[in-house]
Each structure stands twice: as C-alpha cells, then as structure tokens.
Symmetry: C2
Subunit: 142 residues, 2 copies
C-alpha cells in the first residue's frame, strides 16, 4: 500500500503492519521499546498483535533497517532506525527520557584496542544513566 523508500525491503512483500511500525519509528525522536511500538501502532491501527511486532522487529533487525539503540537499566531493549546517525544517549533513570549525546568517544578507541588485543570489535554499547534537570527540580519541591 504505502510506498516506502527502504532499499533493503525489496524482495519483501507489502505489509501494512510493517509499514505502520516503520512509520511510528520514523516519527519518533528517541528509541522505542517493543511495547511502545505495539501501543503506538495499535492506537492508530487497532489491530496488530504483539507477536507480529516481535516478528517485524526481528526482521527489521536482520535487514539492518533498525538496530538496538540502548538498554534501560531494567534490560528493556530500545530500537531506532539504522539510517538515524550513530549516537548514544543519556537516560534519565526517573522519567526514562533519553537525551542524545553527539559525541562517540568509542570509535577511535576501538581501533587501538582491536590492534593491541586481536579482538575483532563489531559493536559497542555506551550509555550514561542519571537524573535529568526536570526530575532533579521536581525532587527539590517535595
């Protein structure tokens, strides 16, 4: 139905559900959990099952259209579009708001470590946890 512009999807069949998932992720400024994606698609669409979301996420991960962006402290996985530029997040442990960090201190380091250890580095995780301004202020009032 909806024409999409994802190269990697050619060969896959048209799927309203998949397009809805992608639409939700396009129009989002921070990574989403499976549950959030499910909720947002359902709010518009009112008929998608959770297992379908899991299967779509799985497929999009394999196609590298999305990637796992971060993990909350409770181990909830969050996903974002691969075409979004690589970055990391500060995650507020109170309100779960995620603030992108535009620095990635890791990439240059990877080469150094890779060379000195023979470890073939394929990915990394870097997240900061803490309390955002808003939540700090709220706490002051109580």
């Amino acid at each position: 139905m909806m024409k999409n512009h994802y190269e990697k999807l050619k060969g896959c069949r048209a799927s309203k559900n998949r397009d809805e998932v992608l639409f939700v992720m396009e129009n989002q400024n921070c990574p989403l959990s499976v549950e959030e994606i499910y909720g947002k698609v359902k709010a518009k669409n009112s008929s998608i099952s959770l297992s379908t979301v899991y299967r779509i996420i799985d497929k999009l991960l394999n196609l590298e259209i999305i990637r796992k962006a971060a993990t909350l402290e409770d181990n909830t996985s969050l996903y974002e579009l691969t075409k979004d530029s690589h970055h990391h997040y500060m995650i507020c442990t109170k309100c779960k708001k995620m603030i992108p960090i535009d620095i990635c201190p890791i990439e240059e380091l990877e080469h150094k470590i890779s060379d000195s250890t023979g470890f073939n580095i394929t990915g990394h995780k870097f997240e900061l946890y803490g309390e955002c301004k808003n939540c700090a202020q709220k706490q002051d009032r109580s």
Copy 2:
C-alpha cells in the same frame, strides 16, 4: 559459619547460601549471570533454590556489595563484586568470554557532559562486542 569480611553485611544474619554466592563471586575472574551463580553454588552445595539466588543478588545489590557489571547482547545481566576495580569488558559474541578493558574513557567525559547539560550522571555502561582470537581461528578452520 564462615567469617566474612564484608562491613556492609553487619546487621544481616549469617547465611550459608549467601556466603556460598559470595565465595563463588570471589573466585571468579569475570562477571557471572544469575544462572551461572546458581549452577556453581549448586555444584558444590547441591541445595539452593533459584529464587534464593535472586533474593541474595537483590540484597547484595542493595548493599552495594555487588553491582551489575555488564549486559550480554541477549540482555542477560552479569554481576561482579563492587570491590573489584571499576572496569569494562570486551565480550565475545561467540563464546561469551569477557576480556577486561583497563581503560575507562567515560569518566572524564562525564564531567564535561554533566556540566554542559545539567544532567546529573550517576552511572554509565560501556561494552565492546566482537569476536575473540580463539573464535576467529576456529572459524578459519571450518
């Protein structure tokens, strides 16, 4: 029974199971999952229940005797003693071996980011994923 030297435990009652968990973690050179701790304690002890391990882990986390050290790509949480010096790991995605990295590029960065954003940083996660030498060689043979 076994005299332990954890300041933070005073006030808590003696518990063979808790001591076994701590013993296992003491004699380990890399972080362990709940399941691994359970297995190792059981191998020696042959009578501890999984729920008890979870409860002990929870308590030790609260007392800050242990901390969550890393998360595998499948979201398995791994724990280590807090008294072990702060460090990060390279995690082989094949054999799950964890190689400590003695550099922490984050700490100095935290201050910079903290100052410029007002975000009160309380923790961070930094992990490298890839393939270790061993696993790379094994693959060559096949």
